[in-house]
């Protein structure tokens, strides 16, 4: 799945997570209703090499954020394995085992909710160092906080302020400073720029790239914005209703998308290069994840679906560019889409 021969930093295989949405037992008994399970993540496999960025993209409810939470131990997987440099983490809760978890950190989507409003910035940034014991001496810890604040583009004096005194972009910098305080090697970034304004988004994306270059970080990047993903990623995984439907190098996803859903996403994303493009494409909506369509989940929206797609779940098979979960791709029923690339050539 990757050109590198060395062992991957993170290896996720067969990852599954079901949420129980059933009503309480008594109500079920009275109403004679079944248990309701939502398969938020339904058999996801990928690996990330050290120093690289894998992005997971997809629409709401596709399970990409759940994958992030599973990796960080914020929810327990229903099945599958998560290995960080060989250490199995699927049965471990958040923060444990400390020597491994210290090396994994997370940046969150909402800069207004990810910092405790009652804590001063210095205390927020110092919390991981204190908890993991990387800087046991309070004075050394404070010096490190000052250094981190300057490293992410803020001032040492900002440590004494409260989060509400900062703008969204500055808060995200604080969040990044907290995440890198324990000198992690791996960062999970859950939509880190989607709550930010465009001009600030560029600042944060540049900062993240700079961190990656200087600290050799490995990223798992979660986003719904394909243009952002294009800028930051080496590999891209496209998710649909809990399943990974395509996984390929970033350039390949954009130049030569295999799965029909990937093609749909690329065609529908509003693009500033496409002034007044004709967009009258009936494409349907993501179905309710409680009752996903049988077979390939995408078949009701797919122009290439046939009887097999409706009945049988496709396997995650190797393609010319990477991996895809599609019968049409496997059977060679899909035409390479030359017209897309031509369309995008101008401007």
């Amino acid at each position: 799945m990757s050109p590198h021969s060395e062992a991957p930093l993170l290896e996720v295989s067969g990852l599954r997570k079901s949420f129980d949405l059933s009503k309480p037992f008594i109500n079920r008994l009275i109403e004679r209703s079944e248990r309701q399970l939502v398969r938020a993540v339904d058999g996801v496999d990928f690996t990330i090499q050290r120093g690289q960025t894998l992005s997971l993209v997809g629409e709401s409810g596709c399970g990409k954020s759940t994958v992030a939470k599973l990796i960080m131990g914020l929810t327990r997987p229903s099945g599958g394995s998560i290995r960080f440099e060989g250490t199995e983490l699927a049965d471990q809760s958040a923060g444990k085992p400390a020597p491994v978890r210290r090396r994994m950190q997370m940046i969150f989507q909402d800069p207004y909710a990810s910092l405790n409003p009652r804590w001063r910035v210095a205390r927020i940034i110092a919390e991981p160092m204190k908890s993991f014991g990387t800087h046991p001496d309070p004075q050394a810890r404070r010096r490190e906080v000052d250094r981190l604040l300057e490293f992410v583009g803020l001032g040492a004096a900002d440590g004494d302020k409260f989060p509400h005194e900062f703008s969204g972009g500055q808060r995200q910098r604080i969040s990044i400073a907290r995440a890198i305080s324990t000198k992690p090697e791996f960062l999970v970034c859950d939509e880190p720029t989607s709550a930010l304004d465009v001009s600030v988004q560029a600042q944060i994306l540049n900062l993240m790239r700079e961190l990656q270059r200087e600290l050799g970080l490995t990223y798992l990047f979660i986003s719904h914005d394909l243009a952002v993903v294009n800028y930051i990623s080496d590999w891209i995984g496209v998710m649909y209703l809990g399943r990974l439907v395509e996984l390929a190098p970033a350039a390949q996803i954009f130049a030569n998308p295999q799965h029909p859903y990937t093609r749909l996403l690329l065609d529908t994303v509003p693009d500033i290069s496409m002034v007044n493009r004709d967009m009258d494409r009936p494409a349907g909506e993501v179905p309710n994840p409680i009752t996903p369509p049988p077979g390939c989940h995408f078949h009701p929206r797919c122009a290439h679906a046939d009887a097999r797609c409706k009945a049988q779940m496709p396997d995650f098979i190797a393609t010319a560019t990477g991996h895809a979960r599609c019968h049409a791709v496997q059977e060679g029923r899909l035409s390479p889409i030359a017209e897309r690339t031509a369309l995008r050539g101008v401007m």
Binding site: K69, M72, G73, L74, A94, G95, K96, A98, R101, M104, Q105, M106, F108, Q109, D110, A113, S114, L115, N116, P117, R118, W119, E127, P128, S131, F132, S175, R178, T182
Partner: protein
């Protein structure tokens, strides 16, 4: 507290809203006067109404000083046992406020702890706590207080009833009022628990109790302050009601409620001052506390600002 902190407090929205609210200003002035009177009761009183040696029976049933037959030694008159009404009110106010504050603190501690625990842990623990709270809430508060009171009196030997009365009252009122805190704190805790800063703490290996107390608790205390203020008025009233019913403070250690009960017995013999003055103080006290609580609730609610 440094001057900069002081000026920041002075400049805060809360302080500004306080300075610009007549209700808040007037009620807090009244409360400062009443609290001051309660704290300095021994200095302000003209006699110690609990000291039988100081009572002279020929001074009994004197009207207030401005009424014919009144004496300037007894500003608000005396009762049938020759106790100075003014002094009794000061001491009674003191007892009422002690019971009020102590029971509010007890209720808040119980309510906050259970609310945090239920909201944070969830599941069975939460269900048990909240069902228990529901049951408690389905009885009138005064009935529960009477029940606790009755049980406590049943357990304690009669000789200790008088001395233990104040603790029994605090316990009875405190155990009745914690539900409101628990519900509010539980609700806020469940909201805060899902926020990303809590996830960040979990990722960094902070333990459950650590997250509960150092992260969540500071963020759920705002509404607690409002409840506590309004609850102080409630607690004082409950104490007065219990004492009025005769199951509260004994006549030898009268609180405002006890004074009103005693006075009530003589109202129809024309000795109106014994019941009227403690009643006025009680009404002013409870009204001020409630008005201040209302203001605080509005001031802390960003939607109403």
């Amino acid at each position: 507290m440094s001057t900069s902190t002081l000026s920041r407090v002075w400049d805060s929205d809360l302080a500004w809203s306080f300075r610009h609210s007549k209700t808040a200003l007037i009620s807090s002035v009244l409360l400062v006067v009443l609290f001051g009177a309660a704290i300095f009761a021994p200095q302000l009183a003209t006699q110690n109404p609990f000291n039988i040696a100081e009572l002279e029976l020929w001074n009994s049933e004197l009207p207030p000083f401005w009424v014919e037959g009144g004496s300037r030694d007894f500003l608000l008159g005396t009762d049938v046992q020759a106790r100075d009404v003014y002094s009794s009110i000061l001491y009674g106010l003191r007892l009422s406020l002690i019971v009020g504050f102590a029971s509010v603190i007890l209720a808040a501690v119980i309510g906050i702890s259970l609310g945090l625990l239920g909201g944070f842990v969830g599941g069975t623990v939460d269900a048990v706590i909240m069902r228990f709270a529901d049951v408690l809430l389905s009885f009138p508060a005064i009935l529960v207080a009477l029940l606790v009171n009755g049980i406590a009196r049943g357990i304690l030997p009669p000789s200790q009833h008088q001395d233990a009365a104040i603790y029994v009252l605090i316990l009875a009122i405190g155990l009745t009022n914690w539900v409101q805190y628990a519900r509010t704190v539980r609700g806020s805790t469940m909201v805060e628990r899902g926020k990303e800063y809590v996830q960040a703490a979990r990722i960094n290996g902070i333990s459950g109790p650590g997250i509960m107390f150092s992260h969540i608790m500071p963020n759920v205390m705002g509404p607690v302050l409002v409840i506590a203020t309004i609850n102080l008025g409630m607690a004082v009233l409950t104490e007065a009601t219990l004492s009025f019913l005769g199951v509260g403070m004994p006549a030898t250690q009268p609180s405002l409620g006890t004074l009103i009960r005693i006075g009530n017995e003589y109202l129809f013999s024309g000795i109106w001052w014994v019941v009227i003055f403690p009643s006025i103080v009680l009404v002013v006290l409870v009204l001020s506390v409630n008005l201040l609580g209302d203001w605080l609730r509005d001031a802390l609610n960003p939607k109403l600002r």
